[in-house]
Amino acid sequence: MREFYVYGFKSRDEYSRKSARSYDDEKRRLESWLGDYMQFRQTPEGKTVFLSIDSRVSRHNPLYAAWKTKSFTDGDMTLHFILFDILQSPGTALTLKEITGLVDEYLSSFDEPRMFDSSTVRKKLNEYVSEGIVVSEKRGKTMYYRRAEDADLPDPDVLDFFSEAAPCGVIGSFLLDKADSHRDHFAFKHHYITGAMDSEIVCQLFAAMSEKRSITIESINRHKDRLSENRVVPLRLMISAQSGRQYLMAYVPRLNRIISFRTDNIASVRPGEVSERFDELREKLDGMIPNMWGVSTQSRSGGRMEHVEFTVRYSESEAHIHQRLEREKRCGTVERIDDHTSRFSADVFDSSELVPWIRTFICRIIDFSFSNKALEAQFREDIEEMYRLYGLGEVTEDDLQ
């Protein structure tokens, strides 16, 4: 799904990692869930299928559909509705034998009634106990089952908003599916929806963090096209509102470091033992945050910390530029030099993370300095390259006007 949505330029033949058949299966599934957003383009390489979604217009994340497609057996479906009809009230507690007998009664009005043996019914009830929708209680030697207490759904506005704005929002979408129809009151700007695909992984990470547990994660190296395993202590999920990426910050004992893992590269999470160092490690991460622009905890130059500063100049009518620096900075300090000049400076683990932000001030950068001199040279060369790309390589009279 990610390839169709994020990239969207590959033809059938270019999906090298998958067989043609799995490409067709994937395409068919997407057409079923997201047909309204699917587009096609004919290119010399063949027909290209892609997903084009303006998330400012679509009020709910269409990718949540993928989480609502779990397969099941005919028996699962039949049993589910009959069990909850039998256990209609939380006050009704019945034994396995009683429930199995009642299931037979429900089905007796069909010409060829299905038969569910008691072990199938028990297995299903126990599944529901672990999901928290059925409660089991032992009375003497006999187990009784009853429906868990129902809870009212919150106001649909709460679900509409947080199903898009909170982590694991797909769970809010499940709740919305149960709500009566209503008008949506919210839209979302700068809204990234791909995180939806990592919901199960993120949920497992939260579970591990709440139990302060180590985990083993299997992650994909997309460049090398291989999987690797790491035992880590998960410490925090860091979400980017400006790229849509989600990262796990975790301590890796093998490296004795806290580093980041992109959640979309995590293929599986296996819970391990409780980590006695969890609180200490989280505190350590908190102490690192003032020197992190993004999620990188290691400089590319090999130094412990890198210094970066730049100065911008603005006109009388552009006083908001100083405010921009203040509100957009994630660490470091902003200093007002005079009415038309401000300077930003910071000590960070990895100054390369600031480069895209600094470039947004192109047209007013009067000075910049990086302690990582290779990066400084690269920054300067990049600007020169931009001049060349737009035919501004040579200074002309026009430039000065």
């Binding site: 994020v6 039949t78 509705f81 919150p154 979302f188 430039d399």
Partner: protein, 302 residues
């Protein structure tokens, strides 16, 4: 476990079918209608025969059901834990002052996750006046009545406007809500944090002519060179727009993005942030916007 049949569109659709069947035996058309409204493409084709052929023994041949009650499933532990986490979010105060599920562990806490790159001047969610305005707006959007609004502009002046509120727009990056409304000649967007007074409009509301709410969509086309992982970074960054990408050479791609004209300056800045990995190729006026900035930058270096 998020990936469970309990949350599937199949179960949800069948619940709606059974809810109707508890009330009266379903005719084929009615059954099909419910399925088409609630299920995805392929499942529409599967649900009806599975019920009709008795593979799912929930609807009898005469359209009645052996169920006695409209189907309902209690909230799962996962759903309760997610809601508990949501009710600890500072933004929940915009909707309700109540707590929920005492004794339930939240799925996550503020210490477990954070948005690390949102701007620091987000809206004041704890402010009583802000909350009151927010709730009034939700009410006005739902009940369709106009609002009379006083707002402070960037320069500190006050503006008065009357508009029909349509919806609230939230940006996580800005951490701000904006009201999008119609019928006002002075614009269709108001930042909630800039509002100093907001009341139901008591007068006769007549829509100002030529007011707009729909975005004025523009397109920008650029070529991308896939160095330093630029392809992935660029396509992820612009993923929330309607867009098209095509390969035009070994490591070169052409990308077209549709954006709202009102956000043009932001678009220019976002494109600049990718440096020489992106070269805008159309439209002309957009190329000029980039060139102007580069020329100004050149003059800064002298």
């Amino acid at each position: 476990m998020i990936f469970s049949e309990l949350y599937s569109a199949y179960y949800d659709t069948v619940a709606r079918v059974l809810k109707a069947a508890v009330e009266h035996p379903l005719k084929k058309d009615e059954l099909r209608d419910i399925i088409e409204k609630n299920a995805f493409g392929e499942s529409i084709l599967n649900i009806e025969p599975a019920l009709a052929e008795g593979r799912w023994q929930l609807i009898r041949p005469d359209g009645s059901t052996p169920l006695r009650y409209p189907p309902s499933t209690p909230m799962t532990t996962l759903e309760k834990r997610w809601l508990k986490a949501v009710y600890a979010d500072p933004r929940i105060g915009l909707f309700t002052d109540e707590d929920i599920f005492p004794g339930v562990e939240p799925l996550f806490t503020a210490a477990d996750c954070c948005v690390f790159d949102k701007y620091s001047d987000g809206d004041p969610y704890d402010d009583e006046a802000y909350r009151k305005t927010f709730r009034l707006m939700l009410d006005a959007i739902e009940k369709r009545y106009p609002l009379s609004i006083d707002t402070v502009n960037r320069k500190g002046g006050t503006a008065h406007l009357v508009m029909m509120p349509e919806y609230l727009e939230y940006s996580e990056k800005d951490d701000k809500f904006r009201l999008r409304g119609s019928g006002c000649r002075y614009g269709d967007t108001v930042n909630l944090a800039r509002i100093v007074r907001c009341e139901p409009y008591e007068g006769t509301f007549s829509r100002a002519p030529r007011t707009r709410l729909r975005p004025r969509t523009q397109k920008v086309e650029f070529e991308l060179i896939d160095k330093r992982n630029a392809l992935e970074r660029v396509l992820m960054h612009f993923a929330h727009f309607e867009k098209q990408a095509e390969r035009i050479g070994f490591d070169r791609y052409r990308v077209t993005i549709s954006y709202d004209r009102d956000d043009e300056t932001e678009m220019v800045i976002r494109i600049l942030s990718f440096g020489p990995m992106i070269r805008v190729t159309a439209p002309k006026h957009f190329i000029e916007l980039i060139k102007e900035r580069l020329k100004a930058q050149k003059s800064c270096e002298r």
